[in-house]
């Protein structure tokens, strides 16, 4: 082995050399990641302080960049949050892994404290300028303006150009980055896609943005409630590996093993500890101090923990957007025709609490030719942050692909995404989202998680299908009526020519044919009426919304009865329903006329946990 000097590097040094791992792998991604990190921080800060967020975003091209095929861009993000204390500025913008949220088990957007420092580093590396920060808390008389640089060697922030000035704003932070990047507006990695996506899953957000020479755009909030982020929960022991388990004990501090287990984890009680002992754990170790516990003892304890059946963790730490807010927010996506939203009750996947919400909307004035329509637009969200890259491996896309959308009236190539002018938005919220990479672009597709998302999508698809079915029936009726007018005379005339039948036979046959086909049309008309009735009932129940109905009372009680049937994976059910319109019409009427005890019971349970 060569005798080379082994040196240590700082965290900042590591990330400055590996910025691609945290979302700065290309000039295009650099713009989006910078914007995303700044907006995430602003939203988290506002929500922590109970402030309705108002965020403005400005992006300008300042000239050519130093890197090949790039522009020098200025990105400014300002918020009305509580503002940063002066001593916190360097930590937030100039130091890696300095976070108030690291490993807290809460559904906040930021988790590790890497992103915004990486944005400062990128700006520093490409334009030799740090982040320009302006902050004012409500206790500050004057606002503070400064530039933050990352001291890469020592992983700490350095402030320069500090100034104070009078500001009209009562509080808030404004951050400005000057860096090399390439601006992409539309498409999966586009800035506008990000901004509209952020507005969709944050109904309480007022967003203003100005990109280049374009005029300011304003997306006003549709909800005046600041989401309350539920309290953090302790980790569940079944989610850990042995190394993590031991590390967790040392981070906990001085305590006995029993205290550490009961306070450091969820779902461990005295009775559970007795079960650990039954499953092979050493009885004596529970009263000894963590510091005095040997690794071998931890190993025995860990295997006893794994052998013991534990209650699933609580779902109280999970928050949702809610169907009402989601319904209002989806209208901000653009010109949409109709939509359906679905909020699932929080549940446990891989021992982690998870809540999945789905919104499906059809865009108006889209391309009506099914042969020319591309795949649906998929909007993915994790803890209310849009995910815009590497969609193929994401749990959300996997889940969408496993649903049989044809059963709900959408066109879908085998095993692929459905096609058409639809937007499918899937939001997943969890304090412990398992991402595939540090840049948080792809949710790991575990079987349980994909199944939970699939169920949500099936339910939303069912709701949507009521509208599509009604449309299809109307088109079918129109088609049938047209067929009678067009083909009856042609068919009868041709038959008469071949058989050389007299005029009297022709007349009689024409009458008979119209009578025959009229029966079919009447049956089709009846089907349209039934589908319309079914749709009306669904609309009254808030399961599907037409954008022209002008209704504002979009509160949607959740009927889990139909949902559970589909959630059992019976995707054929809606297909059958779509085929037998008369049957499904009766079924739906029946369901609507019932007081729906079951659904009331189900929604009671879910409403409790969903209340924001």
């Amino acid at each position: 082995m060569a005798k080379e000097k082994i040196t240590s590097s700082s965290t900042a040094e590591y990330f400055s050399k590996n910025l691609q791992q945290v979302g700065f792998s290309s000039p295009t991604k650099a713009v989006l990641t910078t914007l995303k990190e700044a907006v995430d921080n602003s939203l988290d800060a506002c929500e922590e302080a109970g402030i309705l967020p108002e965020i403005s975003v400005e992006i300008h091209k300042m000239g050519p960049g130093t890197l090949k095929n790039t522009d020098l861009l200025k990105v400014v993000v300002s918020d009305n949050g509580p503002g940063l204390e002066e001593e916190d500025i360097v930590k937030v913008f100039g130091e890696y892994l300095a976070s108030s949220k690291f490993g807290r088990g809460r559904c906040s957007r930021g988790q590790q404290g890497i992103g915004i420092s990486a944005a400062t580093t990128w700006a520093q590396l490409t334009s030799a300028k740090g982040a320009k920060v302006i902050t004012k808390t409500k206790d500050m008389r004057l606002a503070i303006s400064c530039t933050v640089m990352v001291d890469i060697k020592h992983n700490r922030g350095v402030i320069t150009d500090r100034q104070t000035f009078k500001s009209d704003k009562p509080h808030g932070v404004s951050v400005e980055f000057l860096f090399d990047g390439r601006l992409q507006l539309q498409g999966e990695g586009g800035i506008l896609t990000y901004l509209t996506g952020t507005a969709l899953v944050n109904p309480h957000l007022t967003l203003k943005y100005k990109i280049g020479e374009e005029a300011w755009q304003d997306i006003p909030r549709v909800s005046n409630e600041v989401p309350t982020i539920p309290d953090a929960i302790e980790p569940h022991p079944h989610t850990m590996k042995l190394g993590e388990f031991i590390a967790h004990s040392h981070l906990f501090g001085r305590a006995t093993v029993a205290t550490w287990l009961k306070k450091g984890f969820s779902r461990i009680t005295d009775n559970v500890i007795k079960e650990f002992i039954t499953n092979g754990a050493d009885k004596k170790m529970f009263e000894q101090s963590i510091d005095k516990t040997a690794d071998e003892q931890f190993k025995t304890l860990f295997s006893a923990v794994q052998k013991t059946t534990l209650m699933a963790p609580s779902t109280k730490s999970v928050m949702t957007i809610g169907e009402l807010a989601f319904s209002k927010s989806i209208r901000r996506l653009g010109e949409i025709d109709f939509f359906a939203v679905m909020t699932r009750k929080p549940t446990i996947c891989d021992y982690k609490p998870v809540a999945v919400e789905v919104a499906i909307a059809r865009l108006q004035n889209g391309n009506q030719n099914p042969d020319e329509q591309g795949p649906v637009q998929v909007l993915r969200f994790a803890n209310r942050v849009p995910l815009q890259f590497d969609k193929a491996a994401c749990a959300i896309v996997r889940a969408i692909e496993t649903v049989n959308w044809r059963a709900y009236g959408l066109v879908q190539p085998k095993g692929g995404l459905p096609t058409g002018d639809y937007v499918i938005a899937v939001s997943m919220v969890s304090p412990f989202i398992k991402f595939k990479n540090a840049s948080k672009e792809t949710i790991d597709a575990s079987d349980e998680l994909v199944e939970e998302m699939r169920r949500a999508l099936i339910q939303a698809g069912q709701r949507l299908s009521r509208h599509i079915r009604k449309e299809n029936r109307e088109a079918d009726l129109e088609n049938k009526t047209r067929h009678i007018e067009q083909f009856c005379p042609i068919l009868v005339n041709a038959l008469c020519r071949i058989t050389k039948a007299p005029e009297s036979r022709k007349k009689k046959a024409n009458e008979g044919l119209i009578k025959l086909l009229g029966r079919d049309v009447n049956a089709a008309r009846k089907q349209v009426e039934e589908a319309a009735e079914e749709f009306r009932v669904a609309r009254e129940q808030g399961k599907v919304h037409h954008i022209d109905d002008g209704r504002e009372d979009l509160e949607a009680p959740i009927d889990d009865t139909e949902v559970d049937a589909a959630a059992e994976g019976d995707a054929e059910e809606p297909a059958r329903a779509a085929k037998g319109a008369s049957k499904s019409g009766k079924k739906s009427k029946k369901a609507a006329s019932k007081p729906a005890k079951k659904s009331a019971k189900a929604s009671k349970g879910s409403a409790k946990e969903r209340s924001l």
Partner: protein, 381 residues
């Protein structure tokens, strides 16, 4: 079932009359046709070809099927006109004739075909309803495949006007005889005893054999199938079998596609043409090779089936299905053939007919020698 073109106008008129009567009394007309699919196919080794079962497809006139029915009657009228005047057309021409009718009479507008596949499917529908061949409607495919060489064969063709044309194949030199899509009008005679008939999958290889003097050295009939046999080839081989009673051998590639799509179709017909298998299959034809054992015996160059080749992968999958569902391969009498399919599935290898040229690259007649030797030894299935 229509037995000749003379029946078609009669049957058509009867069918139209029935339709009209049903309509007059506001009754829903129903048209029935034989279900042409594998699940309605039966194979009896004594019969020798796939025959239809009892399953039938019913088409009821309703708002959804009125367009299809109208289009069928519209094309039927064109065919009846052709039969009356003796005009013939291909499917492509019928498509354009239909387009022309629509162009000249706007009332036919709703019947317009967007592409040929639409008019083709209506033609097939008419054939199923009348249980006839499209040739019975004077609608012919181009004469593909079946180029035949022989020094002994004499063909007599009855022309539409009743005249007879006699073709002595030995007088054609290196020009092949091209069998027609309606072999029913041909009669065969052997000038001298014919020992065998060899059907070669590749028409190019058949031409090579002839150029190298195969037909001069052997009393035989040699013809190229040109891939999946057309009606002309199928009917022609059947005619050779029935009229000359000579042993017929098939020489082609060793792969699942050849075995199922080419050889099985020649020997026992196909599920899609259940109603015409009786006239278009030659149950006596034997599979001469390439046989799996030939690879070792003659040290032939074979190669693995490419998993990423869609056609080859599909053929292997079809071979799996055939062993399970195809009555022809399931029958004990064809165990030798199903064994080959099993061998292909297991070994995932294939060998082309031209591989015989590797045996002695300097002897252009080596494949011929092997073939003749195999026939003599009875080395076939």
């Amino acid at each position: 079932m229509a037995s000749s073109e003379n029946d078609v106008p009669k049957l058509s008129k009867e069918m139209c009359n029935r339709l009209l009567s049903d309509l007059e009394s506001a009754r829903r007309p129903v048209l029935e046709a034989v279900k042409c699919s594998l699940d309605n196919s039966f194979y009896n080794p004594k019969v020798g070809f796939l025959t239809p079962g009892d399953k039938r497809v019913r088409t009821e006139l309703n708002v959804s099927s009125v367009q299809k029915m109208s289009r069928a009657i519209f094309l039927l009228e064109i065919f009846l006109r052709n039969l009356e005047t003796g005009a013939v057309n291909t499917k492509r021409e019928i498509y354009y004739i239909a387009k022309g009718e629509v162009k000249h009479d706007p009332h036919f507008g709703p019947l317009d075909f967007a592409d040929q596949s639409e008019s083709d499917s209506v033609i097939d529908f008419i054939c199923e309803m009348l249980e006839c061949y499209r040739e019975d409607l004077n609608c012919f495919a181009n004469d593909r495949g079946g180029q035949t060489y022989s020094q002994q064969l004499v063909v007599t063709e009855t022309l539409p006007d009743g005249d007879k044309a006699v073709v002595d194949l030995s007088s054609l030199g290196t020009t092949p005889f091209q069998p027609k899509n309606r072999p029913q009008s041909l009669r065969l005679k052997a000038k001298k005893k014919i020992d065998f008939c060899l059907v070669v999958e590749s028409e190019g290889t058949a031409n090579t054999f002839v150029a190298n003097g195969f037909c001069r050295r052997h009393n035989c009939i040699l013809l190229g199938a040109q891939g999946v046999p057309s009606n002309a080839v199928r009917g022609w081989v059947k005619l050779i079998q029935d009229e000359l009673s000579v042993p017929i051998y098939f020489f082609g590639d060793l792969d699942a596609y050849t075995l199922q799509n080419i050889y099985r179709t020649l020997k026992a017909g196909s599920a899609a043409s259940l109603i015409r298998n009786a006239d278009f299959s030659a149950p006596d034809i034997r599979f001469l090779g390439v046989l799996p054992e030939d690879i070792k015996k003659y040290d032939l160059n074979d190669y693995p089936v490419k998993e990423n080749d869609v056609q080859e992968a599909r053929a292997l999958k079809k071979a799996h299905d055939a062993l399970k569902n195809d009555p022809f391969f399931k029958d004990k009498k064809n165990k030798g053939l199903s064994d080959i399919l099993n061998w292909l599935i297991k070994n995932k290898r294939r060998c082309e007919q031209q591989a015989y040229f590797t045996v002695d690259p300097r002897d252009p007649t080596m494949p011929e020698k092997i073939i003749v030797e195999k026939i003599k030894r009875g080395d076939y299935i």
